[in-house]
Amino acid sequence: MSVLLIAEHNNKELRPFTLNAATAASQIDNDVHAVIIGHKCEEAAKALSKLEFVKKVIQVEAAYYENFVAENFAPVIVKLASNYSHIISSANTFGKNLMPRIAAALDTSQISDITKVIAPDTFLRPIYAGNAFATVKSKDTKKCVTIRPTSFDPCESSGGSAQIEKVEASEEFSKTKFVKREEVKSDRPELGTARVVVSGGRGMQSGDNFKLITSLADKLNAAIGASRAAVDAGYISNDHQVGQTGKVVVPDLYIAVGISGAIQHLAGMKESKVIVAINKDGEAPIFSVADYGLEADLFEAVPQFLEELNKLNTIQK
C-alpha cells in the first residue's frame, strides 16, 4: 500500500522540512502520495506536485484550515487513512502537534522522531535525548511515523509531475480558535536549523558578557545557544537553551564557550558535525566530545577569535 505524506506549508509555499519528510517516505515505499490541507494553498499544492518522489497530491481546502489547527486537520487525514499503510510527517512542532491526534483516532501506536528507515515496519529512533538509540518494530497494520528532518536529505523540488486531486473538507472543530502567530523575525538563523551555533555557558559570568557570543555569532552568521547553567543564572533567556531539557541541535559547527559539558548539555549538541570547545579548565568534560579544544581564558580567546576571523578573506554563510 502507499504512503501518505502530510505537507507542511504556509498556504503560499511549502515549508522546507516537507522535502526531508518526502525523502523519508520514499524510503518506506515508492508510491508516495502527499496531502496538503490549507486555505488558498494552490501555489503550495503546485510546488508539492513537482517534488521528486511525490506521485499524487491531495488538496483539501477550507477557510478554517488557514492556521493549521490540529483538531481540524486530524479528521481529514483519518478519513484518507484507509488507503495507506503509513502516514508520515516531520517531527517538528507541526508534526508533533498533529500526528498523535491522528494515531489515537486510528488506534495506532505512533513511532516518533525516527532517524532511519530500516524496513517498512522497523525504524531507528533516539531516546533519552540521543543518549541511546532504539530499534523498534511496529506491530500495528497502519503506521503513524514522524521523522527527524535533519536525518534525511531534502528531496529535489523539481522533476515530479503529480496530479492534484481535490477532496472535500471535513467539518470544522469549533472549540479551538486560532488567535495569532508571532513569528520571530530575526536576521539570525533559527537555533534548531542553523548551520553554525555559538553557545555560552556559566563561564560567561554575566549576561552582559554574552555580547562576546553575539559578536562571534554575527561574524559566523550563527544562532546563539546557551547551557542550562547560563539560563538558570539568568544570563540569557531559556529559548536559547541547548540540551536534554532544551533544544537538540545538529549544526555543521558548534562552538561551546565557557561550557563545562554537563551530561544534559552534551545530549543536545554532541551529534554536531564539528565541535569546538573553549574553556580554561583542561579537564572539562566538553573536551571529550570536541574535535578542536582550546584550553584558554574565553575573555582573551573570543576577542582573538574575532580578530582572526577578520583576517580571513571569506567566511562561509
Binding site: 501506536s109 531516546i127 523498534v136 502567530r181 520571530v184 551530561i263
Partner: protein, 249 residues
C-alpha cells in the same frame, strides 16, 4: 474548576544514561529517578491557578510501577490536593497511557488536564495529543503562557517559527513547555503535610483497557562514539584548522 495533572517518573535529567550490556534497554537499577521536568511545570501551573482562586482542586495522577507513588507524593508536596496512582508493569506506550488517562478523566470529570509536553525518557511527545483525540477535546500543546478568560483558555504555544496563541473551550488538554513557569521547591513542612494527603491506588487491569505494547523494541544501543579530537594551542591554529581542515568557516 478542577485540574487533573499527569506526572511521569523518569530517570533524573542529570544522570548519565547507560545502555544495558545485552542491549535490551537502559540501566534503571540504582539510578536516581525524578519527575519528568515539564511535568513539574504542569503541576506548578495548576497550583498557581488554584492559588489565584480560579481552581478548586488539583489532582495528580501517575501511571507506572509502585514507586511512581513518590512522583505523585512530590506533586502533593508542591500543592496538589490528592493523588491517583494507576499501577502498571513494564513498558506502557503513550497510546495506552492516554487510554488509561481517558478512564481517569471519565471518573474524575476534570475541566482541565495538564501534563508535560514530552517525557525525557522515551521522547515520544504523544500522550496529551492522544488523550485529547480520544476525548475529542481541544488541545493546546507546548504551552508557554496560560490565561483563563470567561471559562475559556487563551494559550500561547511555542512553535518552531515563534509563538502562536489559540483560544480553547473548556474542558481541554494542555501540554506544558519548560518556559511556562518556574517550578517551586517543596518546603519541609509541605513535604510532611503531603504524607497525610490521600493517594488512591488502582491497577491498570481494573480499568478495562488493553495496554499490551504494539511496538517491539528490538534493541537499544549506545550512540555512535565521536572520534577523539585534538587540543589546539592557539586561536590562530584553531581558525586555521576550521578553515582548512574541517572546512566549516
Amino acid at each position: 474548576m478542577k485540574i487533573l495533572v499527569a506526572v511521569k517518573r523518569v530517570i533524573d535529567y542529570n544522570v548519565q544514561i547507560r545502555v544495558k550490556e545485552d542491549n535490551s534497554g537502559v540501566v534503571t537499577d540504582n539510578v536516581k529517578m525524578s519527575t519528568n521536568p515539564p511535568d513539574d511545570n504542569a503541576i506548578e501551573e495548576a497550583v498557581k491557578i488554584k492559588e489565584a482562586g480560579k481552581a478548586t482542586e488539583v489532582v495528580a495522577v501517575s501511571i507506572g510501577e509502585e514507586k511512581a507513588q513518590e512522583t505523585v507524593r512530590k506533586a502533593l508536596a508542591v500543592g496538589a490536593d490528592r493523588g491517583i496512582l494507576v499501577k502498571t508493569e513494564g513498558v506502557v506506550e503513550p497510546l495506552s497511557v492516554s487510554k488509561l488517562l481517558q478512564k481517569i478523566v471519565e471518573k474524575e470529570k476534570p475541566d482541565l488536564v495538564f501534563m508535560g509536553k514530552q517525557a525525557i525518557d522515551d521522547d515520544c511527545n504523544q500522550t496529551g495529543q492522544m488523550l485529547s483525540a480520544l476525548l475529542n477535546w481541544p488541545q493546546a500543546t507546548f504551552a508557554s503562557k496560560i490565561e483563563i478568560k470567561d471559562g475559556k483558555l487563551e494559550v500561547t504555544r511555542e512553535i518552531d517559527e515563534g509563538l502562536e496563541t489559540i483560544e480553547i473551550n473548556v474542558p481541554a488538554i494542555v501540554t506544558c513547555d519548560l518556559r511556562l513557569n518556574e517550578p517551586r521547591y517543596a518546603s519541609l513542612p509541605n513535604i510532611m503535610k503531603a504524607k497525610k494527603k490521600p493517594i488512591e491506588q488502582l491497577n491498570a487491569s481494573d480499568l478495562g483497557v488493553d495496554i499490551s505494547p504494539r511496538i517491539e523494541q528490538i534493541k537499544v544501543e549506545e550512540p555512535p562514539k565521536r572520534k577523539a579530537g585534538i587540543k589546539v594551542s592557539s586561536v590562530s591554529e584553531l581558525v586555521q584548522k576550521l578553515k582548512n581542515e574541517a572546512k566549516v568557516i
